[in-house]
Amino acid sequence: MTNEECKKVVLDIIADIAPDEDLSNVKPDVRLRDQLQLDSMDFLDIVMELRKRHGIEVPEADYIRLASLDSSAEYLTPKFNALAAKS
């Protein structure tokens, strides 16, 4: 998986948990919280959906790595690739 594909995965999850948000112009280098109405409940959902859909575990201490699309991709892409390598 590439970083770009990973961002798409995260955006797809956000589209499902926050269907009332306009995601057409999300800037990858800006904190998601600063451009979308997302609170801690929504971040919990992103983490839970990553686990449910993709089997990716994000420990609580690493939530901060999901702050922006760029940081999410940087953190999650290796996890996706490690998981793919295992199967």
């Binding site: 948990i17 269907p19 009332d20 609170d39 409940m41 919990l44 959902d45 839970m48 449910k52 420990p59």
Partner: protein, 475 residues
């Protein structure tokens, strides 16, 4: 024991908070079962049919209503968290409500779903208090959605900004009637939650009542894979080693669950553990319902949605000394929401709620109970009608009435199991939901978020905090 009675999470009670919690947990793959003693879902927000007519138990209006596109509100949060499209709740906004004080309702504050109306009412009727009211409003706007200032007195807080006791009482009356379990005062956190729910946000209602919302929730829960067992109450919680080790059902069957969420109330839950329940002072209510052969507006009653009334110098929100306190109360006309062209209700409804004393209603011989109900039905409506336009002829209401129903605190006990018919639960709330048992948590009324949206948010946040969040690895 067969594996069928082993769950990740057992939820006690299929009301709004239990169902909302269940949807969250089932969605994220937990094996969940909701146990409900009654044969219908809904709990304190249930519904029923009588002589072919459909009634809501508790719903006057859904509070916390905001139009589509308004973000960062409790309604938006529950829709997101439960993955429910807003349209499915089919919420229709109110026309307009008022607080009417004085023997004939001379002092009036009108409000609707546009906060500017209440602001202008305060500015024109209490000009000296407008700045203070603005300070209160700013505090509430900045408070977290779960409330701020837990334990403090709302009256003391209001008095720092508003010096006219009439305005203080008029502002508190709707908030207390729609969600205070505390006599004559409110917990400040509860005040901020309710001020937001009623004044900053507003009222709405699905045309067909609360059952519309309950249907959406039960469908969502089923689709997510949740299990539900009706007429299947929990009789006992077996505690062992500081944990809820098992649940014993009314049938004697034993259920094992890793975690338990109880939505039935704090004292009610303690009683399941064999503890003598500590029930503090509680508040009970009666409600009269008249079904009319025409909309209330056609009777000459105008188009108020809700009227909060009080005839006395000070507003007294207290467990009455007698069976009912008719000095104050709430009138609701479910017809007066914006249902759109041709969307109105087929019949008219006139509902009145007043405070009632549980002890003087419980254990009455059947005949006496019936007689008392009939007598109070008349007195309650008569009291409420002082705050509505006078209609002619004198027996116009009588003649337009095609059916009646009434509930008392004992009705609430009978159908919901809430001790003493305390619709808003105990005066002291358990905001973090923890109990003496490490895997047993409280959600719903006694956790502290009230109303339709609030109770769902309670179930959601307790499920998130104690079960989903806890399942995320620490590092």
């Amino acid at each position: 024991m067969n594996s069928g009675s082993q769950y990740d999470v057992a939820i006690i009670g299929a009301g709004l908070s239990g169902l909302a919690a269940g949807i969250r947990l089932a969605h994220f793959g937990k094996k969940v079962c909701i146990f409900e003693r009654h044969n219908a879902v809904g709990g304190l927000n249930g519904f029923y049919s009588l002589d072919g007519r459909k009634y809501d138990v508790g719903l006057h209006a859904v509070t916390n209503f905001v139009p589509p596109g308004v973000k960062g509100t409790p309604l938006g949060k529950i829709l997101r968290q439960l993955r429910i499209e807003r349209e499915r709740f089919a919420l229709c906004p109110q026309k307009g409500s008022r607080v009417a004080f004085g023997p004939g309702g001379e002092r009036v504050l009108r409000f609707n779903n546009d906060f500017a109306l209440l602001e202008s009412e305060v500015a024109s009727k209490f000009p000296a208090q407008a700045a203070g009211f603005g300070r209160i409003t700013r505090f509430v706007r900045e408070a977290p959605l779960t409330g701020e200032g837990s334990g403090a007195s709302a009256r003391r807080f209001i008095r720092e900004s508003v010096s006219d006791p009439l305005l203080e009482d008029m502002l508190l009356c709707p908030l207390m009637f729609y969600g205070s379990a505390r006599e004559d005062d409110m917990d400040l956190a509860q005040f901020t939650i309710m001020f937001r729910a009623l004044y900053l946000e507003g009222f709405a209602r699905p045309r067909d009542g609360v059952r519309v919302m309950m249907r959406v929730l039960t469908e969502k829960y089923r689709e997510a894979g949740g299990e539900r067992r009706m007429k299947c109450g929990v009789m006992r919680i077996v505690a062992r080693g500081g944990r809820a080790a098992a649940l014993v059902l009314d049938s004697g069957e034993e259920i094992v669950a890793d975690q338990v969420l109880s939505s039935i109330g704090a004292a009610e839950t303690a009683a399941l553990m064999g503890e003598a329940p500590v029930v503090g002072r509680t508040l009970g209510y009666v409600e009269t319902i008249s079904v009319l052969d025409r909309p209330p507006s056609a009777l000459g009653w105008g188009d108020d949605t809700i009227v909060f009334f009080n005839d006395s110098d000070r507003f007294c929100y207290r467990d009455p000394a007698g069976q009912v306190d008719v000095r104050s109360g709430v009138i609701c006309f479910p017809n007066n929401f914006e249902y759109g062209p041709g969307g109105g209700l087929k019949e008219g409804f006139f509902r009145v709620t007043c405070l009632a004393n549980f002890d003087s209603w419980s254990n009455l011989p059947e005949e006496r109970y019936r007689v008392d109900k009939a007598r109070w039905f008349g007195e309650i409506q008569e009291s409420a009608r002082r705050f509505l336009p006078r209609i002619e002829p004198a027996d116009a209401l009588e003649r337009a009435t095609v059916a009646r129903d009434m509930f008392t605190p004992t009705t609430v006990v009978k159908y919901t199991g809430h001790f003493r018919g305390a619709i808003y639960g105990a005066p002291e709330k358990n905001r973090d939901g923890r109990t003496a048992l490490s895997n047993l948590f409280i959600c719903g009324t006694d956790q502290g978020m009230l109303g339709i949206v609030g109770s769902m948010l309670s179930g959601i946040s307790m499920a998130n905090q104690h079960i989903l969040q806890a399942s995320v690895p620490a590092a």
